[in-house]
Subunit: 189 residues, 2 copies
Amino acid sequence: MAYTPRERMVYSAAQLVRARGATGTGVRDVVEHAKAPRGSFQHYFPGGKDQLVGEAVLWAADFAVERVRSYRRTARTPTPSGLFAHMAKQWKQDFTERGYERGCPLMAAAADLVGTDSTVTADLRTGVERWETAVAEELVAMDVPARRARRLATVMISTLEGAIMSARLHGDVGPLSTVVAELAPLLDD
Amino acid sequence: MAYTPRERMVYSAAQLVRARGATGTGVRDVVEHAKAPRGSFQHYFPGGKDQLVGEAVLWAADFAVERVRSYRRTARTPTPSGLFAHMAKQWKQDFTERGYERGCPLMAAAADLVGTDSTVTADLRTGVERWETAVAEELVAMDVPARRARRLATVMISTLEGAIMSARLHGDVGPLSTVVAELAPLLDD
């Protein structure tokens, strides 16, 4: 746990954005949550809140990419539906163990900021692009043709994001289980 | 266009939440956007901003329900994939004609408020439930068995919500076209 104050602030920003949205997350809350020295924020993030939230978004995307890549190491016989279940499982675990307060930071930031002129939108685009590319690459490694892999990655990420929101709304992992089961034949076709 | 100031405020709240999120939408902005008399807000919405946003969310859900029901009147041979395309088409039109600033008000409000103790969460649950029920009812009218209709409704709404966000992020309706085409065989199976 040898994280620097700077790393802790990025992590805290991601966690607070997950629960309260980007607009609802103040710099002061992040500094406090990260137990960072007062006054250090300006030093580490001269670009202000947009820089902080942008880095939090990219951190979250890299976390999602790592989850996607980890599937291959754990699955004996990797399948597209198995990968999708693996992606959803992380969310089911998080909701079951920690409650439904926290959603996806990418979705939360996008909901608040895409319609504005925030520079975070570019980071969101980069982050989602990395995530989709990672999913498509894993599908290609399972012999899905490249073009179809790209399209299925779009379906998987869109459906997962919507189901995460639905699960939070209902306080129930049911929607995640439903989309995993229903998409399976399509993904493995 | 004989809308009352009260109706205009609900509509304006929905439109502003779509673009800025629930946290980013202030009561004063809504009153101004609705060209409502100053001071009338408290009169019409004694429950404050939560009441206003809650009504905006239910208004948006009823709008989505109406869109779902309209498919049967326009389609010669209704199919589940045709219904999904019909739902997505409205978004593609809105984005193409009016730009990508405005997303789904249900998603926007959910992203900001589900993790908080806002009373809007109950309205969101009611709204999404109405929407899912309407989709399932249309599928049943196309001879999809009731249990499967319910599950497909969850898939359709989750995937649509995620694809709306992805389209906004990329400033491109591509993700909506992709999910409509890819889900078609699954929905019509």
